[in-house]
């Protein structure tokens, strides 16, 4: 740690508390602006600014948000992961197939409790972690740039998902769906005092944990260090290959969880074609939230706000009656605008 002291000092100087507030405040202002805009556009019905709709938005943010947490860590470390969507699809297929395999073998009371689902979902998260660890090992071992490595695994994981599922959709039989499954992502949670869906709370908790790890742990500071300047970090004694594998594996776990949530969102369906292009949505959310493709930048809170901006746009456009093509254009413009503003604010560095 002492080797890194000058480094940490520089980081503190550059990204002091004020800078950090700025980084988060920028996207946050954007979110408020968009919300006000949609509220104005839907002022006659008022359907956008209802509690129910915001609960719906929370549910619609969970999958992207969970995957984006992993991507935040990867992008801070100066890398990228294009295989997120494919991993999510692979995980939905694996979970659905495991439930179909395990559930009939269990005794009755364990079946009704949904033990098979729990086991399959835990294994699904681990499959995501494995996918990430493979990505990380290839990046560190082959010394090929992450873009290319994960472009490869983007195809490989998608192919595996289709191969496992015989290119079709894997359904979990109704009797294998435990009563609690659909509650995880129900817009109106039970019990009511939860306010938002349990899945959304899981995202919040995970985000808080990641934020603390990134900000206060040695590992977290090393991630920023490697992303800011890899050779300096190496000279300071950071085991860069090991760190990259670790970051990818942890991010893979988050992606695996996103896959499990996607499985739940689709009423327990394993779909090898799902989440096509999710990686780009996730990267966009991180970038809007202040992340940088060249590493060393980004925060968990910023990413979450980025994700919210994306899903408020998706949801708001429906309420405002804006057709799909226009939505795509708007989101594209916002991505570029957000990053440009960010650059200007930093003095064009």
């Amino acid at each position: 740690m002492s080797d890194l002291a000058p480094f940490a000092a520089r980081q503190r100087g550059l990204r002091g508390t004020l800078g950090w507030i700025w980084t988060v405040l920028g996207p946050f202002l954007g979110l408020i602006l968009i919300t006000v805009l949609f509220a104005w556009m839907t002022r006659e019905t008022g359907s956008f600014l209802t509690l129910y709709n915001w609960r719906t938005i929370a549910v619609q943010t969970v999958v992207v948000g969970t995957a984006a947490l992993g991507m935040t860590a990867i992008m801070i470390a100066g890398a990228i992961d294009l295989s997120v969507g494919s991993t999510v699809a692979l995980v939905t297929v694996v979970v659905a197939m495991l439930v179909k395999r395990i559930d009939p073998a269990l005794p009755g009371d364990l079946r009704s409790a949904g033990l098979a689902l729990v086991v399959a979902m835990v294994l699904g998260v681990l499959v995501g972690g494995l996918c990430g660890a493979i990505n990380g090992s290839l990046v560190a071992g082959l010394r090929v740039v992450p873009f290319i490595v994960t472009l490869g695994s983007y195809k490989v994981y998608r192919g595996l998902a289709k191969w496992l599922a015989s290119s079709t959709t894997v359904y979990v039989p109704a009797e294998s769906k435990a009563w609690w499954l659909s509650r995880i992502l129900a817009p109106e949670p039970e019990p009511r005092w939860l306010m938002i869906a349990p899945g959304a709370w899981a995202l919040v908790a995970l985000a808080a944990a990641l934020a603390i790890v990134l900000r206060y742990s040695l590992f977290g500071r090393h991630v920023y260090a490697v992303g800011s300047n890899e050779s300096t970090a190496r000279l300071c004694g950071v085991n860069v290959p090991k760190l990259k594998i670790l970051v990818y594996a942890l991010a893979g776990l988050a992606t695996g969880l996103a896959g499990v949530l996607q499985f739940i969102y689709m009423s327990a369906t394993g779909d090898p074609t799902t989440a096509d292009g999710l990686e780009l949505k996730v990267i966009a959310a991180v970038v809007i939230g202040g992340g940088s493709l060249s590493g060393g930048e980004g925060s968990v809170l910023g990413t979450l706000i980025g994700c919210l901006i994306m899903s408020v746009l998706d949801n708001g456009c429906v309420h405002a009656g804006i057709p799909n093509p226009t939505q795509d254009v708007i989101i594209g413009v916002i991505i570029v605008a957000a990053v440009t503003l960010d650059r200007i604010r930093r003095g064009g560095s």
């Binding site: 839907t42 359907s47 983007y154 959709t169 689709m266 009423s267 429906v318 309420h319 009656g321 799909n324």
Partner: protein, 350 residues
């Protein structure tokens, strides 16, 4: 049903295109330029501009067409009837018709294969205040396909005739995007529409979203493809099984009851096309013992491109051995037509 979305548009640029966009335009197999084998009888499903012109040129011997205009119209009318507390039927069939090169110029048939269509910009939106008594959100499987534009026209026709309902038209762009369709149903609930008219992309994955709507007091009419729930108001669709029966009879009669036949299936899990395939194979087995099904295990996949690739392999493999082909939806018929044309196995001499 008529399932193609926009062909995989990826925005990562050339790098990804190299991975995903390849395939499709293979050359005709060697020997196609020769005298050519006997022409193959092709029976398809659904009408689009290329398919009807191929029908006119007798490259296709029959198309089973649905009536999307009636489907869109009846769906909205059924929803409004339910909202006004009138009894409605739980299952409404909108009919299916066999179009052949001989009957395609009859006015009634011509209306079916050249139905009115509307572009996506039309209709009410969720943003404004309700101007009519009822606001109904219609969610198709996709918005790009001509079939859905006709559904849209039917829905607007119903709205115009009834006068007390406004249509909000919003669908996913890709016809395999279950997640987006679930989100649309959720948004419809949040926007407190009076009713939802839905063509579910998936018989199972949409169930919970629909039941959440019903639990919130918003009735749901299902059209085009079935949904595994008992809580919808009504199910309005083509009798797809009967469509397959019509196709099998046409193929059997054109071939004189004798020959070798290929069925290019669409996709596993697509309820409507599986019904057509079943109607086709059942009828072959029952009514045409002289027709032999030499291949029924291949799947065309979701787009014309994927269908064409699969059809090309089939055409090469069964060249000179096959007499008739049935494809159960528009994209598979389209791909098969192009593959057979490329292989010189169809209509060249006419």
């Amino acid at each position: 049903m008529s399932g193609i979305g926009p062909r995989g548009l990826r925005y990562l640029g050339l790098a990804l295109l190299a991975f995903t966009g390849c395939g499709g335009d293979g050359a005709a197999p060697a020997g196609a330029a020769g005298t050519g084998p006997r022409p193959v009888v092709l029976i398809g499903f659904d009408a689009s501009e290329p398919l009807t012109s191929a029908l006119r040129a007798s490259k296709i011997q029959g198309l089973v067409v649905q009536n999307p205009l009636a489907m869109g119209e009846l769906s909205v009318k059924t929803m409004v009837a339910h909202l006004e507390k009138q009894p409605v039927e739980a299952r409404i069939s909108t009919g299916e018709t066999l179009v052949t090169p001989e009957n395609m110029n009859e006015p009634a048939i011509d209306r079916l294969i050249h139905p009115p269509q509307v572009e996506n910009s039309g209709g009410a939106s969720l943003s404004g205040a309700k101007t009519k008594k009822w606001r109904v959100m219609v969610i198709p499987k996709g918005t790009t396909h001509e079939f859905w534009k006709t559904i849209h026209a039917g829905a607007l026709k119903a709205a115009e005739e009834l006068g007390n309902v406004e249509i909000v038209w919003q669908g996913p762009q890709k016809e395999d995007d279950r997640v987006l369709q679930i989100q649309l149903v959720q948004s419809a609930i949040a926007a407190r529409v009076d009713g939802i008219v839905l063509a579910p992309l998936d018989a199972k994955a949409l169930v919970e979203a629909v039941e959440a709507a019903v639990a919130k007091g918003i009735p749901v009419v299902v059209f085009d493809s079935a949904l595994e729930t008992t809580r919808s108001v009504s199910y309005i669709a083509t009798n797809n099984y009967n469509g397959g029966v019509l196709a099998a009879r046409r193929l059997g009669e054109t071939l004189g009851g004798k020959g070798k036949v290929i069925l290019l299936r669409y996709a596993v899990g697509s309820e409507s096309t599986e019904q057509r395939e079943k109607g086709f194979t059942d009828t072959l087995a029952k009514e045409f013992p002289g027709l032999e099904l030499i291949s029924d295990t291949e799947y065309a996949g979701p787009t014309s491109d994927s269908a064409q690739q699969r059809a090309q392999s089939l055409a090469t493999r069964y060249r000179g051995k096959v007499d008739g082909v049935f494809c159960p939806n528009e994209s598979s018929t389209d791909g098969m037509l192009r593959a057979l044309e490329g292989a010189g196995m169809i209509g060249a001499g006419k």
